[in-house]
């Protein structure tokens, strides 16, 4: 509790004791009436003052004014216990709200806490002199020392030492990452095992941790439709209830007096109108909606999913069509040797020859051959390397002429070869113009892609679509493997935009289309879709900029997790709206009929708020899958 909350807590205790004492005192009703002003003023003086200020500033319809009128009215009607009690409960409710909101604010902020407090700046390496400074003061290119258990304050490159990093604060991924010299490290990760010296490459303000924090903070400022609805509703709700209360005071007694010719029962109707005023405070509604979104965004960010605004949380929950990019999204985006066929020698031997022939090339295909070979390449065995553009390579290895390339190369060199039925890039090899077999290189589907698509289907996604620039055969194979509904292949980047537009036109109203890409050269598509989801965006500013939802690592399972969180969040938002409105209207009706009184009204008001706040916090807890 802060100072203000403590003060209010003491006021609540003091006035409760006073009320109890006065009730037990053996004095006349009249004395009690006057004595009750003491606890009333103790508990309500600030409300009365604020109400007065509201009147002076010509803004009368605020809840302070309403509480003041309701309680003063009750006291004037002789229901002084009730008047004081209503004020007391109102204050208890306010105190609870303030504590609960403060606590969840702190909890959620802690979840998102990746801000480092300090940096160990190295002043003199020889004397190992280190100074602890604020991360703001560290210049680009400085050397900082990060000890085990400390947060890496700023993005940089390791110059000395190796360690394992806990990246879970950034990615939600709990498996530690091993890093060594020359590896890039990101601010916000926790160093687990060894001491490392890091040369900073960015200023603190530009570092990943700062960027993410900025993103999350600005996220909850982008309001959703539900939030706008509630604030609009709150604006008209209070005046409308006040007018209703006034009608209740005037119409029924007048009708009774002049039409029914019976007693007007003024006191009864005034009391019922005052009950209305107690119910007219919109706080429960207004507090629970932003709190739910805030908790949702906080919970998602602790799972490595950045949702850039409450509005995107809302749209994400309505996604029915999911369009994926292939390379880097559903596949690893790195080429690997997946097969060696029709070899006239051992596979390893063929691979070795191919790797040697391609050893001077930097092409991704050559690199994957070298990776698959896995051993040190002795370049002295290779001579006369000729690159035949668009075809492949000719080289002399161990005195034999090797041709490595596509079918065109084999045809132009008049080598008979066997066609391959596999999807992917095929490298045919010929030794001294004799066919020696071929190597298949293809992009590998991520291990979780199939499960991710299945999960999405279970979440009510109507259609999954894959767009790719790759060949039809490769695309269809991948689509089949992970059970994607539709696939469009051989697309140029601008074709992807028009395909997405086509799909956008097909969907029904209230359904959203999300595009998932890795943020590399698909920024236009990301911004064209209803929701752009960038994947594996850690450290890529362009992707973070262009998308609405950022998945910090490249695990496709995060897509379904993001949608699940958004759905849960929206479910709770609607529950809270329905519950709070329902209880309020029920109380209004019961109050008008005289079934409920001021006691139930204040309990409804405070109770609804408590339950809504607790319900909102529920977003944070969920299945950890």
């Amino acid at each position: 509790m802060n100072k203000k909350q403590k003060k209010n807590f003491i006021r609540i205790i003091a006035s409760s004791i006073l009320i109890a004492v006065i009730l037990l005192l053996p004095v006349s009703e009249k004395t009690k009436f006057f004595l009750f002003f003491i606890p009333y003023l103790v508990i309500g003086y600030d409300i009365l003052l604020k109400a007065l200020k509201g009147i002076i500033n010509l803004k009368p319809f605020d809840e302070n004014f309403l509480m003041a009128v309701a309680t003063v009215g009750a006291i004037a009607l002789g229901e002084y216990t009730e008047g004081v009690a209503v004020m007391l409960f109102y204050q208890i409710g306010e105190l609870f709200q303030s504590i609960a909101v403060g606590k969840s604010r702190r909890n959620i902020s802690e979840l998102m806490d990746i801000r480092p407090d300090y940096a160990n700046l190295e002043i003199d390496f020889e004397k190992s002199e280190i100074k602890t400074v604020s991360p703001d003061e560290v210049k680009v290119g400085s050397i900082i020392v990060v000890k085990p258990g400390e947060k890496i304050p700023i993005d940089g490159v390791i110059v000395e030492g190796k360690t394992t990093l806990n990246t879970s604060a950034l990615t939600g991924e709990s498996i530690p990452r091993e890093v060594k010299e020359d590896d890039e490290v990101l601010g916000g990760c926790i160093n687990c095992s060894g001491v490392i010296r890091v040369r900073t490459v960015k200023e603190f303000g530009q570092s990943t941790a700062s960027k993410i924090l900025e993103l999350v903070e600005s996220a909850s400022s982008k309001k959703s439709k539900s939030e706008y609805f509630i604030s609009k509703f709150a604006r008209i709700y209070t005046p409308v209830v006040c007018v209703a209360a006034l009608t209740l005071v005037l119409i029924p007694p007048v009708v009774r007096m002049f039409i029914l010719n019976t007693d007007a029962l003024w006191n009864l109707w005034i009391y019922r109108a005052l009950t209305f005023l107690v119910i007219s405070c919109p706080c429960a509604l207004v507090i629970s909606i932003p709190l739910t979104f805030f908790a949702g965004i906080g919970g998602a960010s602790s799972a490595g999913i950045l949702i850039k605004g409450s509005n995107y949380m809302e749209s994400l929950s309505k996604v029915r069509y999911l369009v994926f990019d292939k390379t880097g999204t559903m596949t690893k985006g790195v080429f690997e040797v997946t097969g060696v066929h029709h070899g006239i020698m051992e596979n390893e031997k063929l691979l070795e020859l191919a790797a040697l022939a391609e050893c001077y090339s930097n092409h991704p295909i050559s690199k994957s051959l070298q990776r698959a070979y896995g051993k040190e390449i002795d370049k002295t065995r290779v001579h006369d390397v000729k690159e035949i553009s668009g075809h492949g390579i000719s080289a002399v290895v161990d005195g034999k002429q090797i041709l490595a390339g596509n079918a065109k190369l084999m045809i132009s060199e008049k080598v008979e070869f066997t066609e391959c039925h596999c999807a992917g890039t095929i490298i045919h090899i010929a030794i001294d113009k004799k066919y020696a077999g071929h190597i298949v290189i293809s992009d590998i589907v991520k291990p979780d892609s199939a499960l991710a698509v299945k999960n999405l289907k279970a979440l009510g996604i109507k259609q999954t679509v894959m767009l790719t620039g790759d060949s039809k055969r490769t695309a269809e194979k991948v689509a089949e493997e992970i059970a994607i509904d539709k696939v469009y292949s051989e697309l140029l980047p601008q074709d992807k935009v028009s395909k997405v537009e086509e799909l956008l036109n097909q969907k029904d109203l209230g359904e959203n289309l999300a595009f998932v890409g890795d943020g590399i050269n698909d920024a236009p598509v990301l911004s064209r879709a209803d929701i752009g989801i960038a994947m594996g965006a850690l450290g890529s500013d362009a992707a973070i900029e262009a998308s609405d939802v950022v998945l910090m690592d490249d695990n496709p399972l995060k897509i379904s997790k993001a949608i699940r969180i958004s759905k849960k969040c929206m479910r709770i938002v609607y529950q809270n709206i329905a519950f709070a409105l329902g209880v309020k209207f029920a109380c209004l009706v019961l109050g008008a009929l005289g079934i409920s009184n001021m006691w139930t009204a204040i309990f409804a008001d405070v109770g609804v708020m408590v339950l809504c706040v607790l319900n909102a916090i529920r977003v944070l807890f969920g299945k950890k899958s």
């Binding site: 003052l49 604020k50 200020k53 500033n57 803004k59 605020d62 809840e63 306010e94 709200q97 303030s98 909101v101 604010r105 959620i108 903070e217 600005s218 909850s220 400022s221 309001k223 604030s231 709150a234 604006r235 405070c281 919109p282 706080c283 207004v286 507090i287 932003p290 709190l291 805030f294």
Partner: protein, 74 residues
């Protein structure tokens, strides 16, 4: 030009009222109050005297919610 200020306010509805009051202040292009983070983001015209406008914003906010506070840095 956008600037963000720390604010103090007790209830969510009061935060909404502050947002309205800030929006209506002269010199303010747009304003959003984030109750959860207790921050007010105000958008000014490019050459505006932000400090002067913020004093005005605070005055207007005080009218709707006398308890509120805005940290206007010097």
């Amino acid at each position: 030009m956008k600037k963000t200020y720390n604010i103090e306010v007790d209830c969510a509805n009061c935060a909404n009222k502050m947002e309205d009051a800030a929006k209506k202040t002269e010199g303010v292009v747009n304003a959003t109050v984030n109750f959860m983070l207790l921050k007010m983001t105000v958008e000014f015209a490019d050459d505006a005297d932000t400090k002067k406008i913020m004093k005005e914003v605070l005055k207007n906010c005080k009218k709707v919610e006398s308890d509120c506070e805005i940290e206007i840095d010097e």
